[in-house]
Amino acid sequence: MIPIQPPAASSIADGVDKLYYFLTGITLFFTVLIFSIIFYFMVKYHRQSEDERAPETHTSLLLELSWTIIPSLICVVIFVWASDLYVRNARPPAASTEIFVIGKQWMWHIQHPEGPREIDELHVPVGVPVKLTMTSQDVIHDFYIPAFRVKKDVLPGRYTSLWFQPTETGTFHLFCAQFCGTSHSQMIGWVYVMSPDDYTAWLAGGEASESMAQQGERLFNHYTCGYCHVADGTGRAPSLVGIYGKPEKLASGEMRVVDEALIRQALMFPNSVPLSGFAPIMPTFQGQFTEEQILQLIAYVKSLGSEERTNGK
């Protein structure tokens, strides 16, 4: 038997499937309706003789309005249903497990904050929301897990994210869904959904590795970022303690939340986001860090706490 849907393995999959089947029903209904009417009329009104004439065509405003308004109402129903699902699925739950993805021609680098790395494989625990923060090292890719009904483009120079909550253990396809060059169709892999215990064991197993935050701290020290970004706020640059997730005022007056995107922008184009009260003297680190290292630095900044800062400017 040919399957008609992939496994429904995430918390949103059933919702998406229901809407899909409703749409399929509407499509089949109207297609069959039109074809049937055509067929019926073809038979009933088949021309009998060459000089046969049709009766006069009357316009009917009632009909025109009906077949304008009824399809419009159907469209409204579909739009509201689909948008509601979409908006609800757009924001990841607060307590999501975060995992980082870097796409490059032609493989997926996956980085768990605790340290383990994978290539073309993603291990996740079942029943727990997982948020993926993703970027590309080169061209536009797209991270697609059909079984979870999630997909998001992966872009160079910025972060995109998606989230899912797996509802059953198993092994599911991972595809790149945006053409990215020669081996686009080989940029595929597997998602392994495990029970929470198995997942913890998997994280701990394998070679011991530093967490992303620890690797970030090493980079931070190696590049002497602390020379300006003094922790107690007495340096030339803002203290980074507790800065992650807080809204900060830029020199331009604009308020921005300190998130992954802002930190990356500060590293790459520092003069575009000086914080209010600080001179724009940070050098650019364009070309100095890989995407992985940037994510590690971000993880380190995150680890410096997001409680209220107790000192500094």
Binding site: L23, F41, R149
Partner: protein, 545 residues
């Protein structure tokens, strides 16, 4: 309508001067300014391009019989799908009905001698040929593998193929479109015969007018976008390179700002043809003329504000998604209005089933399905799952092939007697229409299923579990291919051996049927004066009650 109809005897075409025999020799064709000859020049060129693009498709589908690729290396496969898309979109579908049937028919249908700017018309064809030459050069000397969408930064920085040659070909062909659209807008505004008011125009003219508005407004944007891409690729200045502050998504916005209206360029003329075919083969006035006419204009206008639905998964804001989604639903409504009006026209009509009508009826069903699958894609939550998969491929092929190509073939068959003065064998034509219908559905219906199962598009190699549906699709493609070859044979045959057609072999209404087949160079021996509405077929009394 007063014409010299009474003076036209059933004289064989050869013994009367018409646009085909008015002058002989290659110069009389290559330097013609007769819109009818220019239409035929386009017919030859786009038929060639259709078979080039079709060959690429055949190679693709043959490759996809096996999960690991039966025929081509992935790199070659990537070049094949790119070639197929670029050639079919820019060098076949966009010009197809407008440049062949539009050029031939618009002046005749409005009672004019020619288009407003005949020399510009010829220049349009030469631009098309120049663009096609660059595109074919790109294809034959190494190929291009960016897809017809040329997304950056792959196309601007990473691709090692003939991107610039291909983009240049599209750029030049774009000017062909722009000038054709300009010509049609001015012709329809200024050169209608006395009595031919806007609301007496055939619906084909309304559809072509709406299409020409899109040509004029949309095509320049892709021209400048491809120019920016070329500059980026040549000078490496980074307009779309994020490493130096460029935005790869800006390319997508600029590209789709044209390319979404472009898909309406590809379907609106087909809808115009269908209006003509339905009325001719039911011998009835169309139901809801004003609604059908305005729906064409409505589609043209709304088409410019929905481009973001191609970018729902690019990380676009939720608000942008909602706006583009609701507008995308809105653009579906005028198309639905047309389908219902065509169906209502069939009611109590006097229906005959010659090949053009079969194509028209096939269009109505397949376009309905293709259009409704568009609603899946306008639905944000579902598009997240379906974007970038075979569902999209199936959706647009239902509209482009099940819709536009079938309308094109229906129109070619319908007006063939007028264009050539010959009748083609209708039995063969009906057979071919049936083969095409069956082959088409077998090719593309499985692709909807593949899409929902998760098979991404543009994959040279795929997981084995998708093989059955792929083999079905490839089997359908081989039937479809045969179906397209059949008309090539009998249509060419008919030019020499087909029985002569009179001025009105279908008994249809329209100025084009009131002049000889083939028409004289100046279209009408006596310029017509219009005194009645379009499709003013004689009616019979209907018993009350």
């Amino acid at each position: 309508m007063s014409t010299a109809l009474a003076d036209i005897h059933e004289v064989p075409a050869e013994s009367r001067v018409n646009y085909l025999n008015a002058a002989y020799g290659i110069k009389s064709w290559l330097l013609t300014v007769d819109h009818k000859r220019i239409g035929l020049l386009y017919l030859a060129s786009i038929t060639l391009m259709f078979f080039v693009g079709g060959t690429a498709a055949v190679l693709m589908r043959m490759n996809l019989i096996e999960p690991q690729g039966a025929l081509l290396e992935p790199e070659t496969y990537n070049k094949m799908f790119s070639t197929h898309g670029i050639i079919m979109v820019f060098f076949f579908l966009v010009p197809s009905i407008p440049a062949t049937l539009g050029n031939f028919l618009i002046p005749i249908m409005i009672g004019a001698r020619d288009v407003a700017f005949p020399k510009l018309n010829l220049m349009s064809w030469y631009l098309f040929i120049t663009g096609s030459t660059f595109a074919l050069y790109a294809v034959l000397t190494g190929g291009v593998d960016t897809g017809w969408t040329f997304y950056t930064p792959y196309s601007s920085t990473y691709a090692h193929t003939n991107v610039i040659a291909a983009a240049l070909g599209v750029f030049i062909a774009g000017f062909s479109s722009i000038l054709t659209g300009l010509n049609f807008v001015v012709t329809i505004h200024k050169m209608r015969a006395p009595g031919m008011t806007w609301f007496r125009l055939p619906l084909f003219i309304w559809a072509m007018y709406a299409t020409s508005v899109i040509f004029v407004l949309g095509t320049p944007v892709i021209a400048v976008t491809l120019l920016l891409l070329g500059v980026e690729r040549l000078l490496h200045v980074g307009i779309f390179d994020p490493a130096i502050g460029g935005d790869p998504l800006l390319f997508q916005h600029l590209f789709w700002f044209y390319s979404h209206p472009a898909v309406y360029i590809m379907i609106l003329p087909g809808m115009g043809v269908i209006s003509e075919l339905i009325t001719a083969f039911t011998r009835k006035k169309i139901f809801g003329y004003t609604f059908v006419a305005f729906s064409s204009m409505g589609i043209a206008v709304i088409s410019f504000v929905v481009w973001g639905h191609h970018m729902f998964v690019t990380g676009q804001s939720v608000y942008a998604g909602l706006v583009f989604s609701v507008l995308s639903f809105l653009v579906a409504i005028p198309s639905a209005i047309k389908v219902f009006n065509w169906t209502a026209t069939l009611y109590r009509g006097s229906i005959s089933y010659q090949a053009p009508m079969l194509y028209a009826l096939g269009f109505m069903g397949l376009f309905t399905m293709g259009g409704l699958t568009g609603l899946f894609l306008a639905s944000l939550a579902v598009d997240v799952h379906l974007n970038g998969t075979y569902f999209i491929v199936a959706h647009f092929h239902y509209i482009m092939v099940g819709g536009a190509v079938m309308a094109y073939l229906g129109g070619i068959h319908y007006w063939w007697p007028k264009i050539t003065g010959r009748l083609y064998p209708d039995l063969w034509a009906r057979f071919a229409a049936l083969v095409i219908f069956v082959g088409f559905n077998l090719t593309f219906f499985p692709q909807f299923m593949l899409g929902y199962l998760g098979m991404p598009r543009r994959y040279a190699i795929y997981p084995a579990e998708f093989q059955v549906l792929n083999v079905m699709s490839s089997a359908g493609a081989s039937i479809l291919g045969v179906g397209y070859l059949i008309p090539l044979v009998y249509l060419i045959w008919s030019v020499r051996y087909g029985p002569p057609a009179g001025p009105n072999p279908w008994g249809a209404k329209g100025l084009e049927w009131e002049t000889p087949s083939p028409p004289p160079t100046e279209n009408f021996e006596v310029p017509p004066v219009v005194t009645e509405d379009a499709y003013n077929y004689p009616t019979r009394e209907v018993a009350r009650g």
